[in-house]
């Protein structure tokens, strides 16, 4: 299947170029985000009856991991409200570029941190406290507010969207998995970009801002760092930017050789397995350890969590693919082959989330009518009783996701191994074993 240019349709193109539709979505999202902070801080502290928990960790999470990431890649980043207040402040405008820019520090992000290690760390920080974060409204409220203020603070010090690009705990894994999505933003003709004067897509012009994600669209080869903000479509004077429909996982045909991205794949794969065991498993002691932050049991849990992700899983993978060669060559092969874990990781999260979301989805109806848990009944759904949904198709659905992910990863491993000039069999064995563990945890 070749690519289909969605922006070839005049209606789609004008909808993407026009700032108003995006702003309308932004305002709704920002209002929802601010309300989630408010609900977390002033609403009931019973998580299953609080908007912040129900709408962030059940409704938003379901949309993100089951729909947005697999089908639209960074589609969520295109409408995410977190960077907006900081960006408006940084630009001194909400819509079109102003004549006079505000004087902020506008620093370049430090070279040493121009990678996703900080995103890996920020994700793990949240992951270690996730049992509390997912269930305690005021902690969710504080974390959401913290992310908003961090984005504002970084926008006043650094140029562009430094928070989204280098710090956002969610953006890191969305970027990783966006490589599998069937949507991409790319240039149409390289030569046009090479001869373009001033590169307004990167530097900005009167028509729009320079790429907020610090990416030169002319050099885009994968989705990882393109936030689909559509700014380059507005600024390109040559109509050389397209949004395309493409085959799934097209980016994975050119595997990354970066260790930060390789470890992101292990972090996500390992976290999904640990969450499946801790949150969905029948082991009460594990839940106690994960929830009682600061106790010795929690420190052991945290050490095991980090040990599994940073030591056990990468070491087993390294052992599977090891052969005699120098360290640099090995690191490159390790990173290249770990690309194969990306589809499997995404499907692990889909399988995990299916269980979590279908079981708790009825809370959405109750929370819609009584978002703060104050006893309201705005839409007459406040008293909808809890009932797991579609439990009969849950296990087959999870198997389908996991086995599908395994096949998808095996196919990716073939391509990555071809690139690394090595055998794909050990990678498939690794994927197979991790899939069996995940099946055992979920079924």
């Amino acid at each position: 299947m070749s690519r289909i240019e969605l922006t070839g349709n005049p209606f789609v193109k004008s909808a993407l170029k026009n700032r108003w539709p995006q702003l309308a979505v932004f305002i709704v999202m920002l209002a929802g985000y601010l309300f989630a902070i408010l609900a977390g801080l002033v609403g009931t502290q019973v998580g299953s009856h609080n908007f912040s928990i129900v709408f962030v960790w059940i409704a938003w999470w379901a949309i993100l991991i089951l729909v947005a990431v697999p089908f639209f890649g960074r589609g969520w980043c295109a409408v995410c409200p977190i960077p907006l207040p900081g960006e408006w402040l940084q630009r001194g405008a909400v819509l079109h570029p102003p004549r006079k820019k505000p004087k902020w520090f506008n620093l370049r992000w430090p070279r040493a941190f121009r990678n996703i290690w900080l995103q890996n760390i920020s994700f793990l920080l949240l992951a270690l406290f996730s049992s509390v974060l997912l269930t305690t409204p005021n902690i969710t409220g504080i974390v959401l507010a913290g992310m908003l203020f961090a984005a504002i603070g970084l926008s006043t010090v650094f140029e562009r969207r430094a928070f989204c690009r280098y710090l956002c705990p969610v953006g890191g894994f969305i970027g990783l998995y966006s490589q599998t999505a069937p949507v991409e933003l790319r240039i149409k003709d390289k030569q046009v970009c090479a001869t373009c004067e001033g590169k307004p897509c990167y530097n900005g012009s009167a028509n729009g801002y320079g790429c907020p994600w610090d990416v030169f669209p002319g050099g885009l080869t994968k989705n990882t760092y393109c936030g689909l903000c559509m700014e380059c479509i507005r600024t390109c004077p040559h109509d050389n930017i397209a949004v395309n429909l493409r085959p799934f996982s097209a980016d994975l045909a050119r595997p990354s050789t970066r260790m930060d991205e390789a470890f992101k794949a292990f972090i996500m794969l390992g976290s999904a397995m640990i969450y499946a065991g801790v949150l969905l498993g029948p082991w009460g002691a594990l839940k106690d350890a994960a929830y009682n932050v600061g106790t010795s049991a929690w420190f052991i849990y945290a050490a095991v969590f980090l040990g599994v992700i940073f030591v056990i899983m990468p070491s087993l993978f390294a052992l599977c693919i090891s052969r005699f060669e120098n360290l640099n060559a090995f690191k490159k092969r390790f990173a290249t082959l770990s690309t194969s874990l990306i589809p499997l990781g995404l499907m692990f999260w889909v399988a995990f989330s299916l269980s979590f979301v279908l079981t708790n989805a009825t809370y959405i109806f109750a929370s819609l009518s009584d978002p703060l848990g104050f006893g309201w009944n705005l839409f007459g759904t406040a008293n909808v009783t809890w009932q797991p949904m579609l439990t009969s198709i849950l296990a087959p659905g999870q198997t389908l996701a996991l086995v599908g992910g395994l096949i998808w990863s095996a196919r990716t491993a073939q391509k990555a191994a071809n690139e690394a000039k090595t055998s794909f069999i050990p990678v498939i064995v690794y994927c197979f074993i991790t899939t069996l563990v995940m099946l055992w945890l979920l079924l």
């Binding site: 299953s48 009856h49 269930t135 029948p282 198997t399 599908g404 095996a410 498939i428 069996l436 055992w440």
Partner: protein, 160 residues
């Protein structure tokens, strides 16, 4: 064409692994009684196993706040007040592994208060393992099929 047929064969084999009926050894149904203690946020014992057809009685005892016990797939539940016990009796007429969940909001980790109820063997898990194995093996005809298709597309592209 050959890889296409081989792929079709794998899909058929997958359907057999997933849905073919398995031989069942007849076991005399029994009366089974379990006392399950519920506390924030765990059941003890957290996993129970019975045979298909058993008449199961669960005596739920709550040791702290109000807890419930809901069995996925069966759609039945029972609630116990603190220090009290409540009883649920039913026939285990559906085989497989089912999650047991607290159905009364009992605290922060309530959505994750989960146990496991297994009737007979957890067939679906073994079937899923079989499907995973089949999936791994199917990668060879699948990649051959995809490569052939790509070559065909390239040839037709060059022809244009």
């Amino acid at each position: 064409m050959r890889s296409y047929l081989l792929l079709l064969l794998f899909v058929m084999a997958g359907l057999v692994v997933a849905f073919a009926p398995l031989p069942v050894q007849p076991i005399m149904p029994q009366e089974r009684t379990f006392r399950i203690e519920a506390r924030q946020f765990a059941y003890s014992p957290s996993e129970i196993e019975v045979n298909p057809g058993d008449r199961v009685t669960i005596q739920l005892v709550s040791t702290d706040v109000v807890h419930g016990l809901y069995i996925d797939g069966y759609g039945i539940s029972v609630e116990a007040d603190p220090g009290q016990s409540a009883t649920l009796t039913f026939i285990a007429n559906k085989s497989g592994s089912f999650r047991v969940r607290c159905n009364v909001t009992c605290g922060a980790m309530h959505p994750f208060m989960i146990g496991k109820f297994t009737v007979g063997t957890n067939d679906w898990f073994y079937r899923s393992m079989g499907l995973a194995m089949l999936g791994v093996v199917s990668i060879f005809p699948l990649s051959s099929f995809l490569t052939q298709r790509k070559k065909k597309e390239e040839r037709s592209g060059a022809g244009d």
